[in-house]
Amino acid sequence: MEINREAIMQSTTHHQTLTHSGESAPDDRPGDTRPYLCIPYWETSRFAGDPVDIGQIRPLPTGPLPTGVISWECPGIQTTPYLPGQELQVTVDVRNSGQGSATAIATVVVYWAVPTVGFAKPSFFGATTVAAPTMRDPMVPGFASATMSGVIPVTAPNHICLLAYVTHSLDKANPVADPIGDRHWAQRNLIAVSTKTSPIIIPFFAANPFDTEELFELRVRALDRRTLELFALRMKFEPGEVQPRLRLVDGLARPMTDQTSEARLRLALGSHRQRQYSLMLDLDRQLAPYQLTAIEVVLYQSKNRERPVGSLGIVVRGDDAEA
């Protein structure tokens, strides 16, 4: 047994908060011991004094990092390198911040989709179970991880979106795929393009995840400077000093917006319907091989303009092909 003798009588672990039995006001009714699940969008504090993501802040906070969150880049979803037709391993982190002491057996389900903003009919990738013990202190990081393997068909594009949810019969995920608004859902894009060609054309779908016809507004813009800086750091790159010019075209290559720094488009979509668009992207200068920039495509529900219902990120990296 190794015992630090100098630590005897000098232990300085965090002070315990006393919760007294409260002789005058007991509450002897059963407490809530059901799970409270989420796929965390921030697994450690974003800034001093910040609790980890336990799923309470939904819709996900927008705005510059570190207080804002990139909804299409959930760090709770990790993968091995993706190549269509080859085995892909996906790991999803789950946090159960429920009360009591019970461990929940949560089911984690993963889907993939072609680049889509909003998810109508994603394709099934895999599902598994994970024992998620309660982690009640939001200041203490922690999660359980579920890993599964599968093969995305060789016909799939080089860039896809992964979508995952965690569910339990006493804490169910919403059947609408909603990474921004439902703590059970999360999204991670595997979309990265290089500046080898110009303009860069990125096809994607806008999809209605709801059971009813809805009006939406599609907004496309580059990440703001501070968010790009923090995002690039996370990706081990440097932020590029470029001004992207953006234009949306429809499935028949007809321009739907002017070329601008922020494109907006209003559209109506039937229940679970999707429509193809392409983003044409011009950069005013080349990115160095160690630089990146990122474009965010966000779908807003028109009846609630501040409520994003889907998002998509496009990372543009400098061309690092060997000469």
Binding site: H20, P30, I105, F124, V130, R136, P175, H272
Partner: protein, 595 residues
């Protein structure tokens, strides 16, 4: 009084401290040489000595706790076996229905269809036993009130309380004096380690509990077990309870026997230490020994099984392919907050946790009703399966099945436990199996069996917590949960000790908010935030080694310390002038010879 793990660690620490002591005195060097040889050849005796307080506790008990633990262990083993049976049934259903043309498919399906009914019968038969155990454990009657708290005079105290509260140092000295060979000397050294470990460890216990064992016996018990789990996790070489049982077991393969030398030593030492005309008859030590061994074996047997495997991949794609149409769950949707029936709480209003012990940790939140829920769902599911299999074989939709999925299970009367569900012949032919394989309701059956499997695992987990929360077993992996972690860090408090709380069964998960028991005392010298590893080396350096040196030198200027640290750290054995309920309590410190 500390737990098995802390005692074994203290013994190990005492041996190391003794070995490292820079003695120059020839008498000490000689004595150390002798005891080190004794410890190397009679390790089992030493560990038995370290557990002497537990030996007496088992000897004087009425056996009710061990009997409950026996029942719990039996139910646990059967519950895990049932859980494993369901895994096998699921696997056979899934394989045969996924590939009905395979040569083994038909026999797999038919054996699974029979076994799932047996599974339901076995689960059903356990219902009454589960409810009976829950009721018997919930009352916590096996944790009896300390005689001091009942104002009983010391001459009527049981021997377990007596050895912790009277002539404690004197007993250790007499054990050492009367030991005459390697086995008894090693036992006496273990008892010395036990003395020091209790003197230091009980002070820690009192600090985290909020008062002594006699005032907060339920809280003290889970604190004691939690500290043991904490220490065993930190020091990975700590033997498990089952390993401890093997180390301290003597006798033939069929009957464990407390070594006669040890038994005689204890009898002689009790006689030399106490006026036996003023005590109850010494207890049956052989009975206490065998109970302790059984207890150690039983508490080692509660391991949770691996979590259920998800359905085979072909079924997963069917069940989860469309996120807007998730598979059904048979879990009642109007469950209570703790997952038990009858709460009428709508789902979706779940609340996130709190790092401090709270309402969700109370006695009523720690029930084992999850098992009963799962059993009743199983009965319903298997009944529907038997009713529907004929229609599925004809490629028809079964309305009985849809009704089962739609109905609220708790709105009907539970079945009579005496009416065991029958077994029905549901043998299918190859063509019928093929017909069933493509039925959507069969896919739902696969989902429901998976759901039930998860519910049973969670019910086992809840049962584990239930037994832990009631002090019957160690919390082990649960020690980071607030209701347990409160006992592994000394809290900041200036007022100690707290009097017993009213309605302790419903409040022992919380630090006592009861009035101060005057005169106030300091629970321990441990700083705020100190973890349990603070008291183990303290026991060796502050108590065990100095007392060993005194015994080796023939010196006698120590006190009999209260081994429950009843009035705080380093407090000698004491008596109440009048009643323990007086305010302030008339604390009368006993002279060395007082009994």
């Amino acid at each position: 009084m500390i737990d098995y793990h802390a005692h074994t660690l203290a013994l190990e620490e005492a041996s190391k401290t003794l070995a490292a002591a820079p003695f120059t005195d020839a008498a000490l060097l000689s004595a150390r040489n002798e005891i080190q040889i004794d410890l190397s050849v009679a390790n089992g005796h030493a560990m038995l000595g370290a557990l002497v307080d537990h030996l007496f506790a088992h000897a004087v008990s009425d056996g009710s706790e061990l009997a409950l633990l026996n029942r719990a262990a039996d139910l646990w083993d059967r519950g895990v076996a049932l859980y494993n049976d369901l895994g096998s049934v699921r696997d056979r259903f899934e394989s045969s229905l996924a590939a009905p043309g395979d040569p083994d498919a038909l026999s797999q399906f038919n054996t699974a269809a029979f076994d799932v009914q047996l599974f339901a019968q076995k689960a059903y038969a356990m219902q009454a036993e589960v409810i009976g155990l829950r009721d018997d454990v919930s009352s916590l009657k096996y944790l009896t009130t300390h005689p001091r708290q009942l104002d009983e005079p010391a001459n009527s105290w049981d021997w377990s309380s007596l050895l912790l509260g009277r002539r404690t140092d004197a007993l250790v000295r007499n054990l050492s004096r009367l030991a005459h060979d390697s086995g008894t000397r090693a036992f006496a050294f273990g008892a010395l380690a036990s003395y020091g470990a209790n003197a230091a460890g009980s002070a820690y216990l009192g600090a985290v509990v909020g008062g002594p064992r006699r005032s907060h016996r339920f809280r003290d018990r889970i604190a004691r077990n939690t500290i043991g789990s904490w220490l065993s996790r930190k020091y990975l070489t700590t033997p498990s309870p089952g390993k401890i049982a093997k180390i301290v077991r003597f006798g033939g393969p069929n009957r464990a026997v407390l070594p006669s030398g040890v038994e005689q030593l204890l009898k002689d030492a009790l006689k030399a230490t106490f006026d036996l005309s003023r005590t109850p008859e010494p207890p049956n030590l052989q009975r206490g020994y065998r109970r302790m061994l059984r207890h150690l074996q039983l508490i080692d047997g509660f391991s949770r099984p691996p979590v259920p495997a998800p359905p085979q991949s072909v079924w997963l794609a069917k069940l989860y392919g469309d996120p807007s149409n998730p598979p059904p769950s048979l879990r009642p949707q109007d469950v209570g907050l703790s997952g038990d029936p009858g709460g009428g709480v709508s789902l979706g209003s779940n609340s996130s946790g709190n790092p401090a012990p709270s309402q969700s940790d109370n006695e009523k939140s720690s029930t084992i009703c999850g098992i009963i829920v799962a059993i009743l769902i199983i009965i319903d599911l298997i009944q529907a399966f038997v009713q529907c299999i004929v229609q599925w074989a004809k490629k028809q939709t079964c309305t009985f099945w849809d009704n089962m999925l739609l109905k609220k299970l708790w709105e009907k009367d539970p079945p009579d436990p005496r009416d065991q569900p029958p077994t029905t012949d549901v043998t299918a032919s190859s063509s019928e199996l093929t017909a069933m394989a493509s039925n959507d309701q069969v896919t739902q059956l696969i989902a429901c069996l998976f759901d039930i499997h998860m519910q049973i695992w969670e019910a086992l987990d809840r049962a584990y917590h239930f037994l832990t929360f009631h002090g019957l077993i160690y919390p082990q992996s649960l020690i980071n949960v607030p209701v347990y972690s409160q006992f592994t860090s000394v809290p900041a408090t200036s007022q100690w000790p707290r009097r017993p709380v009213s309605d302790p069964v419903n409040r022992y998960h919380l630090y006592p908010g009861s009035p101060l028991e005057h005169p106030a005392a300091a629970p321990s010298g441990f700083p705020v935030g100190a973890n349990p590893d603070a008291f183990v080396p303290l026991a060796a350096s502050r108590f065990i080694l100095p007392l060993w040196e005194q015994i080796a030198r023939g010196e006698t200027d120590t006190q009999n310390l209260d081994l429950d640290a009843d009035r705080g750290f380093l407090h000698p054995c004491w008596a109440t002038g009048k009643s323990i309920n007086e305010d302030p309590v008339n604390v009368r410190t006993l002279d060395y010879g007082d009994q």
